[in-house]
Amino acid sequence: MEKLSKSFGGVRALDNVTVEVDKHSLTLLIGPNGSGKTTLLNIASGVLEPDAGRLLFRGENITKLPPHRRYELGITRTFQIPRLFYSLSVLENVLIPWESGVENPITILTRGNWKKAEQARIEKAFKLLELLCLDRMWDSPAYELSGGQMKLLELARALMGDPSLLLLDEPLAGVNPSLAEGIMKHLVHLRNELGVTFLMVEHRLDVALRYATHVYVLHHGRVISEGPPDKVTKDPAVIEAYLGG
Protein backbone atom coordinates (compact mmCIF):
# COMPACT_ATOMS: atom_id res chain seq x y z
CA MET A 1 0.00 0.00 0.00
CA GLU A 2 2.83 2.30 0.68
CA LYS A 3 4.69 3.28 -2.37
CA LEU A 4 7.40 5.79 -2.77
CA SER A 5 8.47 6.32 -6.29
CA LYS A 6 10.38 9.12 -7.76
CA SER A 7 12.15 9.94 -10.95
CA PHE A 8 14.35 12.86 -11.67
CA GLY A 9 15.59 14.08 -14.95
CA GLY A 10 18.20 16.64 -15.68
CA VAL A 11 20.01 16.36 -12.36
CA ARG A 12 23.39 14.88 -12.76
CA ALA A 13 23.41 13.71 -9.14
CA LEU A 14 20.35 11.63 -9.76
CA ASP A 15 19.38 10.57 -13.23
CA ASN A 16 15.85 9.29 -13.56
CA VAL A 17 16.03 7.24 -10.41
CA THR A 18 12.97 5.34 -9.37
CA VAL A 19 12.98 3.91 -5.90
CA GLU A 20 10.08 2.10 -4.35
CA VAL A 21 9.94 1.52 -0.62
CA ASP A 22 7.37 -1.05 0.47
CA LYS A 23 5.57 -0.65 3.72
CA HIS A 24 7.24 -2.40 6.67
CA SER A 25 10.40 -2.95 4.68
CA LEU A 26 13.93 -2.07 5.65
CA THR A 27 15.19 -0.85 2.35
CA LEU A 28 18.89 -0.31 2.07
CA LEU A 29 20.35 2.19 -0.32
CA ILE A 30 23.99 1.57 -1.12
CA GLY A 31 26.50 2.78 -3.61
CA PRO A 32 29.96 4.30 -3.86
CA ASN A 33 30.63 7.81 -2.58
CA GLY A 34 28.99 10.48 -4.67
CA SER A 35 26.47 8.14 -6.21
CA GLY A 36 23.55 10.29 -5.10
CA LYS A 37 22.31 8.44 -2.01
CA THR A 38 22.21 11.46 0.26
CA THR A 39 20.73 13.60 -2.52
CA LEU A 40 17.91 11.11 -2.74
CA LEU A 41 17.24 11.30 0.99
CA ASN A 42 17.38 15.10 0.85
CA ILE A 43 14.74 15.12 -1.83
CA ALA A 44 12.61 12.60 0.01
CA SER A 45 12.68 14.68 3.18
CA GLY A 46 12.15 17.96 1.37
CA VAL A 47 15.51 19.58 2.02
CA LEU A 48 16.09 19.70 -1.72
CA GLU A 49 13.60 20.08 -4.51
CA PRO A 50 13.78 17.67 -7.44
CA ASP A 51 14.26 19.25 -10.85
CA ALA A 52 11.80 16.79 -12.26
CA GLY A 53 9.89 13.79 -11.11
CA ARG A 54 7.31 13.02 -8.49
CA LEU A 55 7.28 11.85 -4.91
CA LEU A 56 4.42 9.64 -3.81
CA PHE A 57 3.68 8.73 -0.24
CA ARG A 58 0.74 6.43 0.45
CA GLY A 59 -0.48 7.20 -3.02
CA GLU A 60 -0.47 10.96 -2.47
CA ASN A 61 1.76 13.35 -4.33
CA ILE A 62 3.98 15.08 -1.80
CA THR A 63 6.54 16.55 -4.22
CA LYS A 64 5.61 20.13 -3.37
CA LEU A 65 5.08 19.60 0.34
CA PRO A 66 7.44 21.58 2.64
CA PRO A 67 9.58 19.51 5.04
CA HIS A 68 7.52 20.18 8.14
CA ARG A 69 4.33 18.97 6.47
CA ARG A 70 6.11 15.78 5.44
CA TYR A 71 7.13 15.26 9.02
CA GLU A 72 3.50 15.48 10.03
CA LEU A 73 2.75 12.68 7.56
CA GLY A 74 5.29 10.54 9.38
CA ILE A 75 8.44 11.02 7.32
CA THR A 76 11.46 11.64 9.53
CA ARG A 77 15.13 11.57 8.79
CA THR A 78 18.59 11.63 10.27
CA PHE A 79 21.51 13.50 8.79
CA GLN A 80 24.79 12.03 7.59
CA ILE A 81 26.79 14.85 9.14
CA PRO A 82 24.89 15.34 12.40
CA ARG A 83 22.72 18.42 12.36
CA LEU A 84 21.88 18.56 16.03
CA PHE A 85 20.66 21.59 17.89
CA TYR A 86 24.09 22.10 19.34
CA SER A 87 23.39 24.58 22.10
CA LEU A 88 20.51 22.49 23.40
CA SER A 89 21.05 19.66 25.83
CA VAL A 90 20.87 16.04 24.79
CA LEU A 91 17.45 15.65 26.35
CA GLU A 92 16.15 18.83 24.74
CA ASN A 93 17.35 17.61 21.35
CA VAL A 94 15.27 14.50 21.76
CA LEU A 95 12.29 16.51 22.96
CA ILE A 96 12.23 18.74 19.88
CA PRO A 97 10.03 16.42 17.78
CA TRP A 98 6.78 17.40 19.44
CA GLU A 99 3.37 17.07 17.97
CA SER A 100 2.74 20.17 15.92
CA GLY A 101 0.46 22.78 17.44
CA VAL A 102 2.08 22.59 20.83
CA GLU A 103 4.20 25.58 19.97
CA ASN A 104 1.30 27.96 19.90
CA PRO A 105 2.49 30.70 22.25
CA ILE A 106 -1.05 31.72 23.21
CA THR A 107 -1.92 28.25 24.47
CA ILE A 108 1.33 28.07 26.35
CA LEU A 109 0.68 31.39 28.03
CA THR A 110 -2.91 30.68 28.93
CA ARG A 111 -2.85 27.00 29.75
CA GLY A 112 -0.39 24.82 31.56
CA ASN A 113 -1.50 21.48 30.19
CA TRP A 114 1.58 21.02 28.03
CA LYS A 115 3.48 20.18 31.18
CA LYS A 116 1.75 16.83 31.56
CA ALA A 117 2.51 15.88 27.99
CA GLU A 118 6.06 17.05 28.54
CA GLN A 119 6.40 14.76 31.53
CA ALA A 120 5.26 11.79 29.48
CA ARG A 121 7.60 12.79 26.69
CA ILE A 122 10.53 13.03 29.06
CA GLU A 123 9.89 9.53 30.31
CA LYS A 124 9.78 8.28 26.75
CA ALA A 125 12.88 10.26 25.88
CA PHE A 126 14.81 8.73 28.74
CA LYS A 127 13.93 5.24 27.65
CA LEU A 128 15.24 6.03 24.19
CA LEU A 129 18.37 7.66 25.55
CA GLU A 130 18.97 4.67 27.79
CA LEU A 131 18.64 2.38 24.83
CA LEU A 132 21.29 4.35 22.98
CA CYS A 133 23.54 4.76 26.03
CA LEU A 134 23.06 8.51 26.11
CA ASP A 135 21.03 8.80 29.30
CA ARG A 136 23.97 9.65 31.50
CA MET A 137 24.70 12.83 29.65
CA TRP A 138 21.12 14.00 29.26
CA ASP A 139 21.85 17.49 30.47
CA SER A 140 25.11 18.20 28.70
CA PRO A 141 24.91 20.36 25.60
CA ALA A 142 24.97 18.50 22.30
CA TYR A 143 28.23 20.05 21.15
CA GLU A 144 30.07 18.23 23.94
CA LEU A 145 29.25 14.80 22.51
CA SER A 146 31.70 12.68 20.56
CA GLY A 147 31.12 12.05 16.88
CA GLY A 148 29.58 8.63 17.43
CA GLN A 149 27.34 9.89 20.20
CA MET A 150 26.12 12.63 17.90
CA LYS A 151 25.06 10.00 15.39
CA LEU A 152 23.22 8.17 18.16
CA LEU A 153 21.49 11.34 19.25
CA GLU A 154 20.44 11.92 15.66
CA LEU A 155 18.84 8.49 15.70
CA ALA A 156 17.20 9.04 19.08
CA ARG A 157 15.75 12.32 17.90
CA ALA A 158 14.35 10.71 14.78
CA LEU A 159 12.83 7.77 16.69
CA MET A 160 11.21 10.12 19.19
CA GLY A 161 8.68 11.38 16.68
CA ASP A 162 7.16 7.90 16.09
CA PRO A 163 7.76 8.03 12.35
CA SER A 164 6.07 5.75 9.89
CA LEU A 165 8.85 6.21 7.32
CA LEU A 166 12.31 6.76 8.67
CA LEU A 167 15.05 7.94 6.36
CA LEU A 168 18.41 7.06 7.86
CA ASP A 169 21.60 8.52 6.47
CA GLU A 170 24.52 6.38 7.63
CA PRO A 171 23.26 5.91 11.19
CA LEU A 172 26.04 3.46 12.02
CA ALA A 173 29.08 5.44 10.90
CA GLY A 174 31.32 6.04 13.88
CA VAL A 175 29.24 3.89 16.22
CA ASN A 176 30.99 1.08 18.05
CA PRO A 177 30.36 -2.36 16.52
CA SER A 178 28.44 -3.99 19.36
CA LEU A 179 26.15 -0.97 19.65
CA ALA A 180 25.70 -0.93 15.87
CA GLU A 181 24.44 -4.49 16.01
CA GLY A 182 22.09 -3.52 18.83
CA ILE A 183 20.75 -0.54 16.93
CA MET A 184 20.00 -2.66 13.89
CA LYS A 185 18.20 -5.17 16.10
CA HIS A 186 16.18 -2.39 17.61
CA LEU A 187 15.26 -1.07 14.18
CA VAL A 188 14.07 -4.49 13.15
CA HIS A 189 12.15 -4.69 16.40
CA LEU A 190 10.48 -1.36 15.60
CA ARG A 191 9.68 -2.58 12.12
CA ASN A 192 8.06 -5.76 13.42
CA GLU A 193 6.25 -4.25 16.38
CA LEU A 194 5.21 -0.84 15.16
CA GLY A 195 5.34 -1.28 11.43
CA VAL A 196 7.89 1.44 10.83
CA THR A 197 9.31 1.57 7.32
CA PHE A 198 12.99 2.29 6.83
CA LEU A 199 14.96 3.70 3.97
CA MET A 200 18.56 3.54 4.99
CA VAL A 201 21.83 4.68 3.48
CA GLU A 202 24.74 2.80 4.96
CA HIS A 203 28.32 1.91 4.18
CA ARG A 204 28.65 -0.67 6.96
CA LEU A 205 27.34 -3.40 4.71
CA ASP A 206 28.53 -6.21 7.01
CA VAL A 207 25.95 -5.16 9.60
CA ALA A 208 23.29 -3.55 7.48
CA LEU A 209 22.92 -6.20 4.77
CA ARG A 210 21.97 -8.84 7.28
CA TYR A 211 18.89 -6.93 8.36
CA ALA A 212 17.82 -5.40 5.06
CA THR A 213 14.79 -6.73 3.24
CA HIS A 214 15.46 -4.95 -0.02
CA VAL A 215 18.51 -3.28 -1.49
CA TYR A 216 18.98 -0.60 -4.12
CA VAL A 217 22.42 0.04 -5.53
CA LEU A 218 23.10 3.52 -6.87
CA HIS A 219 26.00 4.38 -9.09
CA HIS A 220 26.55 7.75 -10.80
CA GLY A 221 22.98 8.72 -10.04
CA ARG A 222 21.44 5.59 -11.53
CA VAL A 223 20.00 2.47 -10.01
CA ILE A 224 22.27 -0.30 -11.23
CA SER A 225 20.78 -3.13 -9.26
CA GLU A 226 17.94 -3.91 -6.91
CA GLY A 227 16.45 -6.86 -5.12
CA PRO A 228 16.89 -8.89 -1.94
CA PRO A 229 20.31 -8.58 -0.29
CA ASP A 230 21.72 -11.95 -1.35
CA LYS A 231 20.76 -11.38 -4.95
CA VAL A 232 22.26 -7.90 -5.11
CA THR A 233 25.58 -8.88 -3.59
CA LYS A 234 26.05 -11.42 -6.38
CA ASP A 235 25.11 -8.97 -9.13
CA PRO A 236 28.17 -8.49 -11.36
CA ALA A 237 27.23 -4.86 -12.02
CA VAL A 238 27.43 -4.11 -8.31
CA ILE A 239 30.77 -5.81 -7.90
CA GLU A 240 31.99 -3.88 -10.90
CA ALA A 241 30.84 -0.56 -9.42
CA TYR A 242 32.37 -1.18 -6.02
CA LEU A 243 35.63 -2.67 -7.12
CA GLY A 244 36.23 -1.18 -10.53
CA GLY A 245 34.20 2.04 -10.34
Binding site: R83, W98, N104, L131, G161, K185
Partner: protein, 364 residues
Protein backbone atom coordinates in the same frame (compact mmCIF):
# COMPACT_ATOMS: atom_id res chain seq x y z
CA UNK B 1 11.88 64.98 47.11
CA UNK B 2 14.28 65.33 44.22
CA UNK B 3 15.85 62.01 45.03
CA UNK B 4 12.43 60.38 45.08
CA UNK B 5 11.53 61.84 41.70
CA UNK B 6 14.86 60.68 40.30
CA UNK B 7 14.29 57.17 41.61
CA UNK B 8 10.77 57.08 40.19
CA UNK B 9 12.00 58.28 36.83
CA UNK B 10 14.83 55.74 36.72
CA UNK B 11 12.46 52.95 37.69
CA UNK B 12 10.05 53.85 34.89
CA UNK B 13 12.85 54.09 32.35
CA UNK B 14 14.24 50.75 33.50
CA UNK B 15 10.86 49.12 33.03
CA UNK B 16 10.61 50.47 29.49
CA UNK B 17 14.13 49.28 28.62
CA UNK B 18 13.39 45.92 30.20
CA UNK B 19 10.40 45.45 27.91
CA UNK B 20 12.48 46.41 24.88
CA UNK B 21 15.37 44.18 25.87
CA UNK B 22 12.99 41.29 26.50
CA UNK B 23 11.48 41.62 23.05
CA UNK B 24 14.95 41.71 21.48
CA UNK B 25 15.95 38.71 23.57
CA UNK B 26 12.99 36.73 22.30
CA UNK B 27 13.72 37.53 18.65
CA UNK B 28 17.50 37.76 18.53
CA UNK B 29 18.57 35.79 21.58
CA UNK B 30 16.17 32.88 21.25
CA UNK B 31 15.20 32.73 17.58
CA UNK B 32 18.41 34.27 16.24
CA UNK B 33 16.44 36.72 14.11
CA UNK B 34 18.22 40.06 14.26
CA UNK B 35 15.22 42.37 14.39
CA UNK B 36 17.23 45.55 14.16
CA UNK B 37 14.16 47.55 13.26
CA UNK B 38 13.43 47.60 16.97
CA UNK B 39 13.48 51.40 17.10
CA UNK B 40 10.72 51.48 14.46
CA UNK B 41 8.47 49.10 16.42
CA UNK B 42 9.20 51.08 19.56
CA UNK B 43 8.28 54.21 17.59
CA UNK B 44 4.99 52.68 16.44
CA UNK B 45 3.84 52.71 20.07
CA UNK B 46 5.09 56.20 20.74
CA UNK B 47 3.68 57.60 17.47
CA UNK B 48 0.29 56.07 18.13
CA UNK B 49 0.21 58.00 21.39
CA UNK B 50 1.67 61.15 19.83
CA UNK B 51 -0.79 61.17 16.96
CA UNK B 52 -3.93 60.06 18.79
CA UNK B 53 -3.77 61.04 22.46
CA UNK B 54 -3.98 64.81 22.10
CA UNK B 55 -6.48 64.74 19.22
CA UNK B 56 -8.72 62.25 20.97
CA UNK B 57 -8.41 64.14 24.22
CA UNK B 58 -9.38 67.43 22.59
CA UNK B 59 -12.33 65.76 20.93
CA UNK B 60 -13.58 64.23 24.20
CA UNK B 61 -13.00 67.37 26.23
CA UNK B 62 -14.89 69.38 23.62
CA UNK B 63 -11.93 71.62 22.77
CA UNK B 64 -12.10 72.99 19.24
CA UNK B 65 -8.82 72.53 17.38
CA UNK B 66 -7.30 75.50 15.60
CA UNK B 67 -4.04 75.84 13.77
CA UNK B 68 -1.47 73.38 12.53
CA UNK B 69 -0.85 70.22 14.52
CA UNK B 70 2.91 70.69 14.68
CA UNK B 71 2.59 74.18 16.18
CA UNK B 72 -0.35 73.63 18.52
CA UNK B 73 -0.08 70.06 19.85
CA UNK B 74 1.86 71.03 22.97
CA UNK B 75 -0.63 73.78 23.79
CA UNK B 76 -3.61 71.47 23.40
CA UNK B 77 -1.84 68.74 25.35
CA UNK B 78 -1.78 71.09 28.35
CA UNK B 79 -5.46 71.92 27.87
CA UNK B 80 -6.39 68.24 27.62
CA UNK B 81 -4.32 67.48 30.71
CA UNK B 82 -6.32 70.00 32.71
CA UNK B 83 -9.60 68.49 31.51
CA UNK B 84 -8.29 65.08 32.53
CA UNK B 85 -7.65 66.48 35.98
CA UNK B 86 -11.40 67.13 36.17
CA UNK B 87 -12.52 64.01 34.31
CA UNK B 88 -10.25 60.95 34.71
CA UNK B 89 -12.32 59.00 32.21
CA UNK B 90 -10.78 60.98 29.34
CA UNK B 91 -7.38 59.94 30.64
CA UNK B 92 -8.41 56.31 30.52
CA UNK B 93 -9.62 56.57 26.92
CA UNK B 94 -6.53 58.38 25.66
CA UNK B 95 -4.44 55.67 27.21
CA UNK B 96 -6.36 52.66 25.99
CA UNK B 97 -7.19 53.65 22.41
CA UNK B 98 -3.59 54.43 21.35
CA UNK B 99 -2.39 51.28 23.08
CA UNK B 100 -4.79 49.12 21.10
CA UNK B 101 -3.95 50.91 17.85
CA UNK B 102 -0.22 50.56 18.56
CA UNK B 103 -0.47 46.85 19.34
CA UNK B 104 -2.50 46.05 16.25
CA UNK B 105 -0.20 48.05 13.96
CA UNK B 106 2.98 46.65 15.46
CA UNK B 107 1.80 43.04 15.33
CA UNK B 108 0.75 43.44 11.70
CA UNK B 109 4.07 45.07 10.79
CA UNK B 110 5.98 42.44 12.73
CA UNK B 111 4.32 39.60 10.84
CA UNK B 112 5.03 41.42 7.59
CA UNK B 113 8.69 41.97 8.50
CA UNK B 114 9.15 38.29 9.33
CA UNK B 115 8.82 37.31 5.66
CA UNK B 116 12.00 38.82 4.19
CA UNK B 117 13.78 36.77 6.86
CA UNK B 118 13.13 33.70 4.74
CA UNK B 119 15.32 34.92 1.93
CA UNK B 120 18.03 37.01 3.52
CA UNK B 121 21.17 35.88 5.33
CA UNK B 122 21.46 37.14 8.92
CA UNK B 123 23.57 40.24 8.55
CA UNK B 124 21.80 41.47 5.44
CA UNK B 125 18.45 40.94 7.06
CA UNK B 126 19.71 43.12 9.90
CA UNK B 127 20.87 45.81 7.47
CA UNK B 128 17.54 45.78 5.61
CA UNK B 129 15.67 46.09 8.89
CA UNK B 130 17.90 48.96 10.00
CA UNK B 131 17.28 50.67 6.68
CA UNK B 132 13.54 50.13 7.10
CA UNK B 133 13.67 51.57 10.57
CA UNK B 134 15.53 54.66 9.36
CA UNK B 135 13.03 55.09 6.56
CA UNK B 136 10.16 55.06 9.06
CA UNK B 137 11.93 57.70 11.08
CA UNK B 138 12.68 59.88 8.06
CA UNK B 139 9.11 59.70 6.79
CA UNK B 140 7.61 60.65 10.17
CA UNK B 141 10.21 63.35 10.59
CA UNK B 142 9.19 64.98 7.32
CA UNK B 143 5.49 64.23 7.26
CA UNK B 144 4.33 66.77 9.79
CA UNK B 145 0.59 66.03 10.18
CA UNK B 146 1.34 62.69 11.88
CA UNK B 147 3.41 63.57 14.93
CA UNK B 148 4.52 67.09 14.08
CA UNK B 149 7.72 66.22 12.22
CA UNK B 150 10.78 67.78 13.81
CA UNK B 151 8.54 69.75 16.17
CA UNK B 152 7.31 66.56 17.77
CA UNK B 153 3.93 66.11 19.38
CA UNK B 154 2.68 66.93 22.86
CA UNK B 155 1.21 64.13 24.91
CA UNK B 156 -1.39 64.94 27.56
CA UNK B 157 -0.85 63.42 30.98
CA UNK B 158 -3.43 60.70 31.33
CA UNK B 159 -2.89 60.66 35.10
CA UNK B 160 -3.35 64.43 35.48
CA UNK B 161 -6.06 63.81 38.10
CA UNK B 162 -3.42 62.58 40.55
CA UNK B 163 -1.18 64.83 42.63
CA UNK B 164 2.47 65.31 41.83
CA UNK B 165 4.44 62.53 43.49
CA UNK B 166 1.51 60.11 43.19
CA UNK B 167 1.29 60.60 39.46
CA UNK B 168 4.91 59.57 38.95
CA UNK B 169 4.50 56.73 41.41
CA UNK B 170 1.45 55.49 39.53
CA UNK B 171 3.39 55.65 36.27
CA UNK B 172 6.21 53.67 37.82
CA UNK B 173 3.81 51.07 39.18
CA UNK B 174 2.13 50.77 35.82
CA UNK B 175 5.32 50.54 33.78
CA UNK B 176 6.94 48.12 36.16
CA UNK B 177 3.91 45.88 36.35
CA UNK B 178 3.68 45.82 32.55
CA UNK B 179 7.41 45.06 32.43
CA UNK B 180 7.10 42.29 34.97
CA UNK B 181 4.14 40.79 33.12
CA UNK B 182 5.99 40.96 29.80
CA UNK B 183 9.08 39.41 31.28
CA UNK B 184 7.12 36.71 33.09
CA UNK B 185 5.27 35.89 29.88
CA UNK B 186 8.56 35.70 28.03
CA UNK B 187 10.03 33.52 30.78
CA UNK B 188 7.12 31.14 30.49
CA UNK B 189 7.54 30.96 26.73
CA UNK B 190 11.28 30.55 26.97
CA UNK B 191 11.01 27.64 29.39
CA UNK B 192 8.34 25.92 27.33
CA UNK B 193 8.50 23.83 24.17
CA UNK B 194 7.98 27.08 22.27
CA UNK B 195 11.25 28.57 23.50
CA UNK B 196 13.02 25.29 22.95
CA UNK B 197 11.82 25.18 19.38
CA UNK B 198 12.95 28.77 18.79
CA UNK B 199 16.43 27.90 19.97
CA UNK B 200 16.38 24.78 17.82
CA UNK B 201 15.57 26.90 14.77
CA UNK B 202 18.38 29.26 15.73
CA UNK B 203 20.82 26.34 15.93
CA UNK B 204 19.79 24.56 12.75
CA UNK B 205 16.92 25.67 10.61
CA UNK B 206 17.07 22.77 8.18
CA UNK B 207 16.95 20.18 10.93
CA UNK B 208 14.14 22.03 12.68
CA UNK B 209 12.11 21.91 9.48
CA UNK B 210 12.82 18.21 9.10
CA UNK B 211 11.33 17.69 12.56
CA UNK B 212 8.04 19.28 11.75
CA UNK B 213 8.68 22.85 12.73
CA UNK B 214 6.82 25.36 10.61
CA UNK B 215 9.63 27.89 10.68
CA UNK B 216 7.72 30.54 8.74
CA UNK B 217 4.80 30.45 11.16
CA UNK B 218 6.99 30.42 14.25
CA UNK B 219 8.96 33.39 12.94
CA UNK B 220 5.77 35.30 12.31
CA UNK B 221 4.56 34.48 15.83
CA UNK B 222 7.81 35.58 17.41
CA UNK B 223 8.01 38.81 15.44
CA UNK B 224 4.37 39.53 16.29
CA UNK B 225 4.97 39.03 19.99
CA UNK B 226 8.27 40.90 20.00
CA UNK B 227 6.88 43.83 18.03
CA UNK B 228 3.82 44.02 20.25
CA UNK B 229 6.11 44.21 23.28
CA UNK B 230 8.18 46.97 21.67
CA UNK B 231 5.07 48.96 20.80
CA UNK B 232 3.86 48.63 24.40
CA UNK B 233 7.20 50.01 25.54
CA UNK B 234 6.73 52.85 23.07
CA UNK B 235 3.31 53.74 24.52
CA UNK B 236 4.73 53.82 28.03
CA UNK B 237 7.72 55.84 26.83
CA UNK B 238 5.53 58.48 25.18
CA UNK B 239 3.48 58.98 28.35
CA UNK B 240 6.65 58.97 30.43
CA UNK B 241 8.30 61.65 28.29
CA UNK B 242 5.16 63.75 27.83
CA UNK B 243 6.06 64.29 24.19
CA UNK B 244 7.02 62.34 21.08
CA UNK B 245 9.78 63.24 18.67
CA UNK B 246 10.73 61.13 15.63
CA UNK B 247 14.40 61.87 16.19
CA UNK B 248 14.27 59.87 19.39
CA UNK B 249 13.95 56.64 17.45
CA UNK B 250 17.25 56.38 15.61
CA UNK B 251 19.35 53.30 14.97
CA UNK B 252 21.20 54.14 18.17
CA UNK B 253 18.09 53.19 20.17
CA UNK B 254 18.07 49.78 18.50
CA UNK B 255 21.74 49.46 19.16
CA UNK B 256 21.30 50.20 22.85
CA UNK B 257 18.74 47.42 23.07
CA UNK B 258 21.06 45.00 21.27
CA UNK B 259 23.77 46.08 23.66
CA UNK B 260 21.60 45.26 26.68
CA UNK B 261 20.79 41.81 25.31
CA UNK B 262 24.36 40.92 24.37
CA UNK B 263 25.68 42.39 27.62
CA UNK B 264 23.15 40.47 29.68
CA UNK B 265 23.48 37.19 27.84
CA UNK B 266 21.69 35.92 24.76
CA UNK B 267 19.39 32.99 25.34
CA UNK B 268 19.23 33.38 29.10
CA UNK B 269 15.95 34.76 30.47
CA UNK B 270 17.93 36.71 33.05
CA UNK B 271 19.86 38.45 30.27
CA UNK B 272 17.43 41.34 29.63
CA UNK B 273 16.97 42.44 33.26
CA UNK B 274 20.70 42.25 33.92
CA UNK B 275 21.68 43.91 30.63
CA UNK B 276 19.18 46.74 31.01
CA UNK B 277 20.32 47.33 34.60
CA UNK B 278 24.00 47.47 33.62
CA UNK B 279 23.30 49.84 30.75
CA UNK B 280 21.20 52.19 32.85
CA UNK B 281 23.77 52.09 35.64
CA UNK B 282 26.68 53.02 33.36
CA UNK B 283 24.65 55.66 31.56
CA UNK B 284 23.29 57.32 34.70
CA UNK B 285 26.61 57.09 36.54
CA UNK B 286 28.32 59.03 33.76
CA UNK B 287 25.51 61.58 33.55
CA UNK B 288 25.54 62.11 37.32
CA UNK B 289 29.29 62.41 37.72
CA UNK B 290 29.75 64.77 34.80
CA UNK B 291 29.21 67.77 37.05
CA UNK B 292 31.92 66.61 39.42
CA UNK B 293 34.78 66.43 36.93
CA UNK B 294 34.75 69.27 34.39
CA UNK B 295 35.72 68.04 30.95
CA UNK B 296 36.56 70.10 27.89
CA UNK B 297 33.98 68.14 25.87
CA UNK B 298 30.44 66.86 26.14
CA UNK B 299 30.52 63.99 28.64
CA UNK B 300 27.61 62.21 26.93
CA UNK B 301 30.09 61.22 24.24
CA UNK B 302 32.23 59.53 26.86
CA UNK B 303 29.25 57.47 27.92
CA UNK B 304 28.86 56.15 24.37
CA UNK B 305 32.57 55.40 24.10
CA UNK B 306 32.51 53.47 27.36
CA UNK B 307 29.42 51.51 26.31
CA UNK B 308 30.91 50.69 22.92
CA UNK B 309 34.15 49.47 24.48
CA UNK B 310 32.26 47.44 27.07
CA UNK B 311 30.36 45.68 24.34
CA UNK B 312 33.50 44.90 22.32
CA UNK B 313 35.22 43.54 25.42
CA UNK B 314 32.20 41.47 26.44
CA UNK B 315 31.89 39.86 23.02
CA UNK B 316 35.61 39.13 22.85
CA UNK B 317 36.19 37.94 26.38
CA UNK B 318 32.83 36.62 27.46
CA UNK B 319 30.70 35.96 24.37
CA UNK B 320 27.87 34.54 26.45
CA UNK B 321 27.33 37.82 28.26
CA UNK B 322 27.12 38.39 31.99
CA UNK B 323 24.67 35.53 32.50
CA UNK B 324 25.39 33.06 29.68
CA UNK B 325 22.81 30.71 28.25
CA UNK B 326 22.48 27.41 30.05
CA UNK B 327 21.49 24.51 27.81
CA UNK B 328 18.78 22.69 29.80
CA UNK B 329 16.82 25.84 30.21
CA UNK B 330 13.39 24.43 29.40
CA UNK B 331 13.72 21.41 31.62
CA UNK B 332 12.37 23.04 34.70
CA UNK B 333 11.06 19.61 35.55
CA UNK B 334 14.65 18.50 35.85
CA UNK B 335 14.88 17.92 39.61
CA UNK B 336 11.94 15.48 39.82
CA UNK B 337 13.29 13.90 36.67
CA UNK B 338 16.35 12.42 38.27
CA UNK B 339 14.33 10.88 41.04
CA UNK B 340 11.86 9.66 38.45
CA UNK B 341 14.62 7.82 36.68
CA UNK B 342 15.91 6.23 39.81
CA UNK B 343 12.44 5.38 41.03
CA UNK B 344 11.46 3.79 37.74
CA UNK B 345 11.47 0.01 38.07
CA UNK B 346 14.59 -1.25 36.34
CA UNK B 347 12.68 -4.11 34.77
CA UNK B 348 10.58 -1.64 32.84
CA UNK B 349 13.48 0.11 31.23
CA UNK B 350 15.15 -3.17 30.44
CA UNK B 351 11.98 -4.23 28.76
CA UNK B 352 12.64 -1.79 25.97
CA UNK B 353 16.34 -2.12 25.95
CA UNK B 354 16.68 -5.84 26.46
CA UNK B 355 18.34 -6.41 23.12
CA UNK B 356 20.92 -3.91 24.16
CA UNK B 357 21.51 -5.12 27.68
CA UNK B 358 25.09 -5.99 26.92
CA UNK B 359 25.86 -2.70 25.36
CA UNK B 360 25.21 -0.95 28.67
CA UNK B 361 28.28 -2.52 30.14
CA UNK B 362 30.86 -0.16 28.67
CA UNK B 363 29.10 2.86 30.06
CA UNK B 364 28.30 1.43 33.46
Amino acid sequence: MEVLMFALSIGTLYSIYLILATSMELEYGELGLPNFAKAAFFAVGAFAVGALAVRLGALLAGIAWEGEFKLRSYYYATLVSSSIARNPLIGLVIFIVPTVVALVTAVALGVLASYPALRLPGDYLAISLIAFSELVRIVTRNYEPLVGGTFGAGVPDFLAWLGSPWRELAKLCMSSSVAVCVWAGYYRLSTSPFGRTLRAIRDDEVAAKAFGKDVTRLRAWTMAIGSGMAALAGVLYAFYMGSVSPDDFTVSKTFLVVLMVVLGGRGNPLGPPVGAAVYLLVDRAITLTKHLIPMPFDVNYASYIVLGMTLVIIIMKRPGGIVPEKPPITVKIAPPLDSLREAAPPAKSRNVGNQLAYSHKPSE
